[in-house]
């Protein structure tokens, strides 16, 4: 360990691990980001994988990637372009070459760059030539061979040997960033407690990669990314799906209710169901239903029975739940429906991110059928908005739609762990035995929430259902004026939630030339772009919406403070349309992208500049 390192200090670095679906890139990326987080960096991650489990080996379609953006400063996005790319095969290079920063470092497994590999990836000439990477820092390493050597004599079968190639690459990257290996080794010790051979193999290969990197010296300069200066506290890495699940567990604890989730697996929402299925110690009843309709209907049954009821899905599943959401609206039962958006329409691009379910969330039901719509904007704040969604559902007796997306669901970032005692209380309008003159549709005069009498409560027996309800008794009513009254009451009840949510805030300039408007998972890219613009002297603010229906009451005032407005979304302009409906007097520019990918900061800055420079 005597080599002297040439070290560059960097504010931030982007690294992308990439290889075949079977190459374990998701694990590699996760282990790297866990180490970086423990080291104190701020970071954001972005997994990107194909919809086949193992798409054909060696093809571009089968490439699985995991990008980590780590920094000494606050990190908001997984980064547009990579400083370092690990490419386990030619297809990985092909898929990612366009996402490299000029002069980036590329670590290749040279063993896989043989004729067969090149052919599968569709390369006909030298890939470095074809991708015009001659000036880049290309490190060719016979990773497969070296892995095999490292494991020589350990008695592993070839499949297992090849499976640990990724640890060789990870070892090299650890050296490159001068990071210790111990966290990763501990991970294997824990995970394979009962299989010491596996632990040993991974340890050996990891160390071999580290040593190799040190030896070859090709990797100088190495990067030094100091710990970030972030608020004091206890931190952990968390992804959006786990954060969502935990937000509900927190809400159930605060409300003193049992948590019930009725769901059907669907990418990229399944993680929520999976996480809650693990949480039996908190009494969570997780019900894997036969389909999405049963998912929401069992949840509604549980809500009727007095649980905090949740159902989670993605776009196609939300479509299937439409009719039952209507029943929730009519019966005014609390329920949270999570939509983790993915590329559409139809099956679309199941593993890619998109924001094109907004209109469906707002309007995708028969009749006048209002629900509260809330959107999280970072992996970790999924916790907060899941909690808020549950609180609103329970306190206002209404379905709440919580919007997440593939980018948030699978992306992760360090999260300062809150304390249970700092979370707000949740007080649903549950009525108890002995309540006098109980009427199931009697309402709180402020919130318009109806009373909640739970089966098992003596003396409050009553019936609810999907036919129009009498405004007080809740019995079936075909009276025309009662219908109009109830339609308007349900809408008003949702609107009144505006009295219970925070006012909208603007980040960056509070008045100025351009107001950037966004919602959902694009937050990191938007705030980064806004900050860059401001550094360049533009007067720009960001209005990132979390409460979509109802909108906070101060929106219109805020809109008036900027000369121009631009709505940025990963769809064809759904939020822009919604704002036109609500605040017609403002003109809205649009930046839209529908590629199953997040924005890049670069393209945002370009678009904003163009808008500012037009008259």
């Amino acid at each position: 360990m005597a080599t002297k390192r040439e070290v560059i200090e960097r504010e931030e670095v982007v690294i992308r691990f990439s290889g075949d679906s079977g190459d374990g890139m998701q694990l590699t990326g996760t282990l790297f980001s866990d180490s970086a987080a423990l080291f104190g960096n701020d970071l954001v991650t972005f997994p990107d994988y194909p919809s086949e489990i193992r798409a054909p080996h060696g093809t571009v379609g089968g490439v699985s990637g995991f990008q980590v953006h780590l920094g000494h400063t606050e990190i908001r996005t997984p980064g547009d372009y990579a400083d370092v790319l690990v490419a386990m095969n030619p297809a990985a290079l092909k898929a990612n070459a366009r996402w490299l920063k000029p002069g980036a470092t590329v670590i290749l497994d040279s063993d896989s760059f043989d004729e067969k590999g090149l052919g599968k990836a569709g390369y006909t000439i030298d890939p470095i030539e074809e991708e015009k990477l001659n000036d880049y820092n290309i490190i060719r390493v016979p990773i497969t061979t070296l892995t095999r050597q490292a494991l020589d004599g350990l008695g592993l079968d070839m499949k297992s040997v090849l499976r640990s190639k990724n640890m060789f690459a990870l070892g090299m990257v650890y050296w490159l960033f001068a990071r210790p290996l111990d966290h990763t080794i501990k991970y294997f010790e824990n995970k394979f407690k009962k299989r010491p051979l596996v632990v040993e193999a991974n340890r050996r290969v990891l160390q071999a990669g580290y040593n190799y990197a040190e030896t070859i010296e090709a990797l100088t300069p190495t990067y030094m990314v100091s710990p970030a200066e972030i608020p004091k506290g206890t931190y952990r890495n968390i992804n959006g799906n786990v954060a969502t699940a935990w937000g509900f567990i927190a809400a159930a604890e605060k409300a003193g209710l049992q948590l019930f989730i009725g769901s059907y697996p669907i990418t990229p929402a399944t993680g929520i169901l999976e996480e809650l299925s693990l949480r039996k110690e908190f009494g969570v009843k997780s019900f894997q239903a036969e389909d999405e309709i049963a998912g929401i209907c069992t949840a509604l049954g549980a809500s009727f029975a007095g649980s905090l009821a949740v159902t989670s899905t993605s776009g196609p599943g939300l479509a299937l739940k439409s009719e039952a959401i209507g029943l929730a609206v009519m019966t005014e039962l609390p329920i949270v429906i999570v939509d983790v958006q993915r590329g559409g329409p139809s099956t679309g691009l199941p593993t890619k991110t998109e924001q094109a379910d907004l209109m469906q969330a707002l309007y995708g039901r028969n009749g006048e059928c209002p629900v509260v719509v809330i959107a999280a904007s970072t992996p970790s704040n999924c916790f907060h908005y899941a909690f808020q969604a549950a609180k609103i559902a329970l306190e206002h007796m209404t379905p709440v739609l919580l919007m997440s997306d593939g980018f948030l669901a699978n992306g992760s970032e360090p999260w300062r762990i809150p304390s249970s005692k700092d979370l707000p209380s949740i007080k649903p309008p549950i009525v108890k035995e002995g309540h006098e003159n109980f009427q199931p549709y009697a309402r709180d005069p402020e919130s318009l929430a109806r009373l909640w009498a739970i089966p098992g409560t003596k003396g409050l027996e009553h019936r609810i259902g999907g036919l129009e309800k009498d405004a007080l008794k809740g019995s079936v009513s075909h009276d025309p004026l009662n219908h109009e009254k109830m339609v308007r009451t349900r809408e008003e009840k949702v609107q009144r939630v505006a009295n219970y949510i925070p006012k909208q805030e603007i980040e960056g300039d509070q008045t100025g030339d351009l107001l950037v408007i966004g919602w959902g998972g694009t937050y990191g890219h938007l705030i980064t772009a806004v900050n860059e613009m401001r550094k360049e002297g533009y007067r720009v603010g960001l209005m990132h919406l979390h409460y979509i229906k109802p909108l906070p009451e101060n929106i219109e005032t805020l809109l008036g403070r900027f000369k121009k407005k631009v709505v940025c979304e990963l769809n064809l302009g759904q939020m822009a349309g919604y704002l036109r409906m609500k605040f017609q007097d403002h003109h809205y520019h649009q930046v839209n992208k529908v590629q199953g990918l997040p924005f890049t900061v670069v393209e945002l800055i370009e678009a904003f500049s163009k808008i500012l420079n037009e008259d």
């Binding site: 206890t234 890495n237 049954g301 029975a305 007095g306 009821a309 039952a324 259902g465």
Partner: protein, 339 residues
Amino acid sequence: MEETVAHKLSPKDFKSDQEVRWCPGCGDHAILNAIHKALAELDYNREDYAFVSGIGCSSRFPYYMNTYGFHGIHGRASAIATGTKVANPRLSVWQITGDGDALAIGGNHFIHAVRRNVDINIVLFNNEIYGLTKGQYSPTSKMGAVTKTSPFGTVENPFHPGELVIGAQGKFFARSIDTNIQLSQEIFVEAARSEGTSVIEILQNCVIFNDKTHAEITDKAHKDDRQIILKHGEPMIFGKNRDKGLVLDGLKLKVVKIGEGGITEKDILVHNATENNPGIHLMLANMRYPNYPVALGVIRNVTAPTYERAVEAQIQKVKKTSALKCLDDLLHSGNTWEV
């Protein structure tokens, strides 16, 4: 789970204040009646009943019960009832449904509830027609039935609810007739007391859109010869003169006359509703006129673990062993670091 009831309840305690809005003469009235009576025999408090339904004439049922009730959407009652029961296993949960609601749009939730063996009681009003939408055929309408959507007769085989229940691993299946309030009441009580999913098919008459569809069997003049009321542990004897019975002929059931061809009462099959192997229950449930009498009563009643109890048990087990006791424990579990 049955709790102590302060005062014994009577059937009229279960009548709600809502006007009953079925057509005069509809079989649903009698079924309502039988349920009111059955509940009065059971040991639950009134507030511990939840009646859940879908959409259809039959599904208006919960409005007429002075208990907790949930009139759902078409076809989804099994799912709603499942959620209710799993969330609170102490409730006595009843699903009221029609042949369309349960077996057309609701077929999937129905078979999955049966498979999971959730402890709910499913009362299926089988009038072989869509009543509420005014007379289209249903998945139980007889082949050839002329209805508003089959003006030239249907060309599809009907489901037989009992057969489908057994195909879905059903543990309890019974059949009654709307007008036989006494039998229905007995069955409801047995169903409520049996744990797991109980499916009770009631042959119900829709006077308006499918009048007399079950008349061949229910007709007073012939019913004793065309129905057999099965009772666990008793021989399968029927007929006006109680001189007919069922025996096995190879793998098939056969109707025999006691006293003819040397057959005596002790040759007659004895009904065993608790037999795990569904083979004979399938044959009994499938008996149809004119070859056989139609079986009524509890055809199958097999004990098996229920889903909601298994869920609770798993939770209790994990609670005991898990190191995580509250939210804060969870938030701090795994890798964390201080800044």
